[in-house]
C-alpha cells in the first residue's frame, strides 16, 4: 500500500508546527512523543500502521477551525479520526500530517423527544446515542457492529450501516444536520431539526465522504421509537441457492424484515463452535430473519416467512419464543468474526455489495477462486441488501499467504463489480480499496469526484492518500479546453 511520499520540508518544520498547535490547543491537547502517539498509529485495519507527525485533540469547533486554517495556510496535511474503528484505513495517520482526534467532543448536547432528534458532538459513540434515549423508548437506528466504540462523526464520514439497513436505512437516511469546519477554517451548518436542508444537499454529500471534505463538529440525528416487539426466525436450507431464493421470495412477497442475514456452512460451523447458538450444522445456507413491529404484525409475518421458507425447501425452521432466544439466534451471527478468528491466525473481511439475484453465482465463483488461491473463504452477509462479508483466512506471518490473500480479495471485489455490484457496501474505500476504484469507475467518474473534493479542499490537505488511487491537482482538474466554432452535431433532432 503506497502512500503519498513524505514531504521533507514539512517534517523539518515539525517543532514549529507543534508549537503552533500548542498555541491553539493548550495543555495536554497536543501529543508529540512516540509513546503518547502509539495508540493512534492505526485504526481497525491494523495490517497497516503509520505514526503521525503529531496528534492534536481539540475541544471546540473554534479550535478545529483555527487548526484547519493554520494547516491550510501552511500546507500541512490533516487526518481526522473519531473512534478509530474504520475497517478500510480511513483514519490511518500519515507520517507528515497531523492526526486530528475528535475524542474530546463527547457530549450529548440536546435531546428533543417531541421533534424526535438528538444533537450530539461527533465523538459520542453510536451506542452512546441510543443509551442516552432508550429509557424513553427511543433509539438511533443505524447499528454498525462496532457500535460500542465507533463515533457518530465517524459514522457520518463512512455512511455506516449495520444489520437493519434494509428497513431503517444507513446513516445518510437518519441524519438531520451537521456543523462542520472547512479546510479554510470556515464553520458551516447544514440542516438542523427540520427535514431537507435547503440548497444543494451538501449534508448528503458529506455523508460517506470519508473525512476528505470537512471535519464534523456537531451532528443532529433522527431518533426512532423502538419497535414494540422483535422476533427472529432461524431457517436452514440444504443448498445455498435455496436460502438465496427464500430471501428474494420474502422481499417479492412485500415483506421488509428488520434484518435478514445469511451464513454459509463454514461460517455456521465456526459460529456454532464459538457460542453454541443451536445452529443446524447440516445447513448449506442459514438465514436469520428478524421481524419487528407491533406483536400482532410480527406474529403474522413470522407465519408468512415460515411458509415461504417451507415452500423453498427449508429443513430447519425455528422461531424465537422469547427475547433470550432471539438474542441467542443473533449471538452466533454477531460473533462470526471472532469465531473465524479462532480457526485462523488472521482473516481479511471484504465488503462488496451485489444485486441479490446474483448471490448464488457470486458464491460459486468465490468458491472457485478460493480453490485457485489455496485460501479458505467463509461467508456471512446482509442478505436482505446484498452486502457480502466474505472472510479470507490466512496467516499474516507468511508473506506469500498475505500476498495471495490480497490478490484473492481484489479478485472477489472485481467479481462483485462485474455482476453489477460495488466495491464496498459499508466499510468505505479508505486505503484498502483505493487502488481498485478504477474497476468500478472510469477516469472521468473519478475526476468528477475529485473536482467535488477541490470545491472543499483545493490543496488536497484533508485525509490525502485515501479513496482516490491517484490525486490530480485541482488546477489541472479545473482546466477546460473549449474548441471554438464547431458545428452543432447534425444528426440530433432539432426543432
Amino acid at each position: 500500500m503506497e502512500m503519498p511520499p513524505l514531504d521533507p520540508a514539512i517534517l523539518a518544520r515539525r517543532s514549529d508546527i507543534v508549537a503552533a498547535l500548542r498555541a491553539i490547543v493548550p495543555g495536554e491537547g497536543v501529543i508529540d512523543d512516540l509513546d503518547g502517539m502509539r495508540p493512534y498509529e492505526c485504526d481497525a485495519l491494523s495490517a497497516y500502521r503509520q505514526m503521525p507527525m503529531v496528534v492534536v485533540l481539540p475541544e471546540t469547533a473554534a479550535q478545529v477551525a483555527a487548526i484547519l486554517r493554520y494547516c491550510q495556510d501552511n500546507k500541512v496535511k490533516v487526518v481526522p479520526r473519531g473512534g478509530g474503528t474504520s475497517l478500510s484505513g480511513g483514519s490511518m495517520p500519515i507520517g507528515d500530517g497531523i492526526l486530528l482526534a475528535m475524542g474530546k467532543f463527547n457530549r450529548v448536547l440536546e435531546i428533543d423527544y417531541a421533534n424526535r432528534c438528538a444533537r450530539v458532538q461527533p465523538g459520542v459513540t453510536n451506542l452512546g446515542v441510543t443509551k442516552a434515549v432508550e429509557h424513553e423508548g427511543f433509539y438511533y437506528a443505524p447499528d454498525p457492529s462496532s457500535q460500542i466504540a465507533c463515533s457518530i462523526g465517524g459514522n457520518v464520514a463512512e455512511n455506516s450501516g449495520g444489520v437493519h439497513c434494509l428497513k431503517y436505512g444507513l446513516t445518510t437516511n437518519n441524519l438531520l444536520g451537521i456543523e462542520m469546519v472547512l479546510m479554510n477554517g470556515e464553520i458551516v451548518r447544514l440542516g438542523g431539526k427540520h427535514l431537507d436542508a435547503g440548497g444543494y444537499d451538501l449534508l448528503g454529500l458529506m455523508t460517506g465522504s470519508e473525512g476528505l471534505l470537512g471535519v464534523v463538529t456537531e451532528v443532529t440525528v433522527r431518533l426512532l421509537r423502538k419497535p414494540s416487539t422483535a422476533r427472529a426466525v432461524l431457517l436452514g436450507f440444504p443448498t445455498e441457492a435455496g436460502a438465496a431464493d427464500c430471501v428474494a421470495a420474502v422481499i417479492a412477497s412485500g415483506i421488509i424484515p428488520g434484518g435478514m442475514e445469511m451464513m454459509d456452512k463454514d461460517a455456521t460451523k465456526c459460529a456454532e463452535a464459538y457460542v453454541g447458538a443451536g445452529y443446524p450444522l447440516d445447513a448449506e445456507g442459514l438465514l436469520i430473519v428478524e421481524l419487528d413491529g407491533p406483536p400482532v404484525e410480527v406474529d403474522y409475518l413470522v407465519e408468512r416467512v415460515a411458509d415461504i421458507a417451507k415452500g423453498r425447501g427449508a429443513t430447519t425452521i425455528r422461531v424465537s419464543h422469547d427475547e433470550q432466544e432471539r438474542v441467542l439466534f443473533w449471538a452466533g451471527r454477531k460473533a462470526a468474526f471472532p469465531a473465524v478468528g479462532q480457526i485462523s491466525p488472521d482473516y481479511m473481511c471484504l465488503d462488496g455489495s451485489v444485486p441479490r439475484g446474483k448471490l448464488v453465482e457470486v458464491l460459486a465463483e468465490m468458491r472457485r477462486l478460493s480453490k485457485q488461491y489455496g485460501l479458505r473463504v467463509v461467508n456471512v452477509f446482509h442478505a436482505g441488501d446484498g452486502n457480502l462479508h466474505p472472510l479470507i483466512l490466512f496467516d499474516a506471518n507468511d508473506p506469500d499467504e498475505l500476498r495471495r490473500c490480497e490478490e484473492l480479495g481484489a479478485d472477489i471485489l472485481r467479481l462483485c463489480v462485474r455482476v453489477g455490484g460495488v466495491l464496498t457496501g459499508e466499510h468505505g474505500v479508505g486505503i484498502e480499496k483505493r487502488d481498485l476504484m478504477g474497476v468500478q469507475f472510469t477516469e472521468i467518474d473519478l475526476d468528477q469526484q475529485m473536482r467535488v473534493k477541490c470545491a472543499f479542499d483545493p490543496d488536497h490537505l484533508l485525509n490525502p492518500g485515501k479513496v482516490f488511487p491517484q490525486l490530480r491537482r485541482c488546477a489541472e482538474l479545473g482546466r477546460l479546453v473549449v474548441t471554438q466554432n464547431r458545428l452543432p452535431f447534425p444528426d440530433i433532432p432539432r426543432f
Binding site: A114, N115, G137, N159, G161, C165, G169, L170, T172, N173, G192, K193, H194, L195, D196, G198, G199, Y200, G204, L205, T207, S209, R225, K226, P227, A248, A252, I256, P294, P295, V296, E297, Y300, P355, R356, H382, D385, G386, G421, V422, E426, V429, M437, F441, T442, D445, Q448, Q449, R451, V452, C454, A455, F456, L480, R486, P488, F489, I492, P493, F495
Partner: protein, 389 residues
C-alpha cells in the same frame, strides 16, 4: 428561446452538451416541463428536451430497484410498480394543478431534481433517499456515473444526494436507478376533530413518538390526520392503540378506510387544499415540527388572509398568502427567526419570482461553498442558469 435539441440516446446527449459548451450556449433542461413555473425564471439560449430518452431499462421487483431513462414519465413508472404491488415510498407529489397545469404530468427524474416528497417523508425519506445511482453528463460535456443499483453502497462520494434537489443545475441525467418498496396492503386514517394548531402539533408529535408506526401526520383546519399503513391485522391493532393514546387530546375522532385515506392523503400530498384560491402565492416552509404553530402565528400577526395546513407532523407548512409584489418574503422568512428551517416560494407569478429569492438565501460561507460545488460540475454555468438563485 431559439430552438430545441432532443437527443435520442446517451451519446447524443453527451454530444449536445459538448456542443453547447463549445458554442457557449446555455441550456434549459427539461423532461415534460411540468415544474417550469417553480424556481427562478430563466433566460436560456436553447432547450434541451429529454423526452427522447424515455423508458424502463430494468425492473427487478425482488431487488427493490427500477432503472429508467431520464425522460420517463412518472405515470409510466407508477403504473409499472403498481402491477407488482410496489411504490415509490417517498410519495412524490403531483404539483401540476397547483402550478396551473393538468394533473399526471412530469417525469420521475423531475421529481428527483426537486427532491420532492409527500407525507411519507417523515418515515420513508425524500427522493434523495431513494436515488441509488445515475449516469449523466456534466457541464464539461463528459459522461459520468455515480452510485449503482444496489441498496448499500459507499464506494466514492454519494453524488446522487447532491444531484437530487439540484433542479437540474449540476448535470443532465441520462439514466437513474431508484429504490422501490412494497405498497401497503391497507391504509387507515384516524381523524381528530376540532384541535387548534398547537394542540394538533402536540398530538401529532406524540403519535410520531409512539410505537404505532404512523406514516403520515397532517393538520388541516379542524382536522388532524394520522395515517397507518401495513398488513390488515397490524393496521387494526395500531389503530386501536393510537385511539387510546389520542384520547388525552380530548378531540372527537373519526376513521377513514383504505380508499378514503388514499384520496385524503393524495390531496394533502398535492397541496389540493390551497388550490381553491388560484391567485394566492404559495410557500412551502420546512421547520422543526414543534415550531410550526409559532411560525404561523408570527406570519398571521403581520399578514392577514393567510391560509395554511401542516404536514410532516408540523414540520412542513403549506402556506397561501394573498397576492403581492414581493410574495411577503420578508415576513415569511422573518417568521422562521432562529428556529432554523427554510422557506421556498412554490407558486407566484413570474415577475414576483424574478424579484424575490425563491429558495432560502444561505449564509455567505455556505453559499460560496455551494457555488464551488456547482462549478465543479458545470464550470461554465450551462445548465438551467439562475434557476436556483
Amino acid at each position: 428561446m431559439t430552438s430545441t435539441i432532443k437527443p435520442r440516446d446517451a451519446k447524443e446527449l453527451r454530444q449536445a452538451v459538448e456542443w453547447a459548451l463549445n458554442e457557449g450556449v446555455t441550456l434549459d433542461v427539461r423532461g415534460e416541463g411540468s415544474k417550469l413555473a417553480l424556481g427562478k425564471p430563466m433566460q436560456c439560449d436553447q432547450m434541451l428536451d429529454l423526452s427522447g430518452l424515455s423508458g424502463i431499462v430494468d425492473y427487478a421487483p425482488e431487488e427493490l430497484v427500477v432503472t429508467l431513462r431520464a425522460g420517463t414519465p412518472m405515470r409510466e413508472v407508477e403504473a409499472l410498480l403498481a402491477q407488482r404491488n410496489q411504490m415509490l415510498a417517498f410519495e412524490p407529489p403531483d404539483l401540476g394543478p397547483l402550478l396551473g397545469r393538468e394533473p399526471g404530468q412530469g417525469t420521475l427524474v423531475g421529481a428527483v431534481m426537486g427532491n420532492l416528497a409527500g407525507s411519507r417523508r417523515l418515515s420513508a425519506g425524500a427522493a434523495r433517499d431513494h436515488l441509488l445511482g445515475f449516469s449523466g453528463v456534466n457541464g464539461r460535456g463528459e459522461a459520468f456515473k455515480s452510485g449503482g443499483r444496489v441498496m448499500k453502497n459507499v464506494t466514492g462520494y454519494d453524488l446522487s444526494k447532491v444531484v437530487a434537489g439540484s433542479w437540474g443545475t449540476l448535470a443532465v441525467l441520462d439514466e437513474v436507478s431508484v429504490k422501490v418498496l412494497p405498497a401497503p396492503d391497507q391504509t387507515a386514517t384516524l381523524l381528530l376533530l376540532g384541535l387548534d394548531d398547537a394542540s394538533a402539533v402536540r398530538a401529532m408529535c406524540s403519535a410520531m413518538g409512539s410505537p404505532h408506526e404512523v406514516s403520515g401526520a397532517a393538520h388541516l383546519p379542524g382536522r388532524t390526520a394520522l395515517r397507518l399503513e401495513g398488513v390488515a391485522p397490524s393496521v387494526e391493532a395500531r389503530l386501536k392503540g393510537l385511539r387510546e393514546l389520542m384520547a388525552d387530546a380530548g378531540a372527537k375522532m373519526q376513521e377513514l378506510g383504505t380508499l378514503e385515506s388514499r384520496t385524503f392523503w393524495r390531496e394533502v400530498r398535492d397541496v389540493t387544499p390551497l388550490n381553491a384560491a388560484p391567485d394566492a402565492v404559495v410557500w412551502k416552509i420546512s421547520c422543526p415540527p414543534t415550531e410550526g404553530p409559532a411560525i404561523m402565528a408570527r406570519i398571521e400577526a403581520k399578514r392577514s388572509g393567510a391560509q395554511a395546513y401542516y404536514d410532516w407532523s408540523g414540520g412542513l407548512i403549506w402556506l397561501a398568502l394573498p397576492p403581492s409584489d414581493d410574495a411577503d418574503h420578508v415576513i415569511v422568512r422573518g417568521a422562521l427567526g432562529a428556529t432554523g428551517g427554510h422557506a421556498t416560494l412554490i407558486r407566484a407569478p413570474q415577475s414576483v419570482r424574478a424579484a424575490v429569492p425563491v429558495f432560502q438565501p444561505q449564509p455567505a460561507a455556505l453559499a460560496a461553498l455551494a457555488g464551488r460545488v456547482k462549478e465543479s460540475f458545470d464550470p461554465k454555468g450551462l445548465f438551467n442558469p439562475g434557476r436556483v438563485g
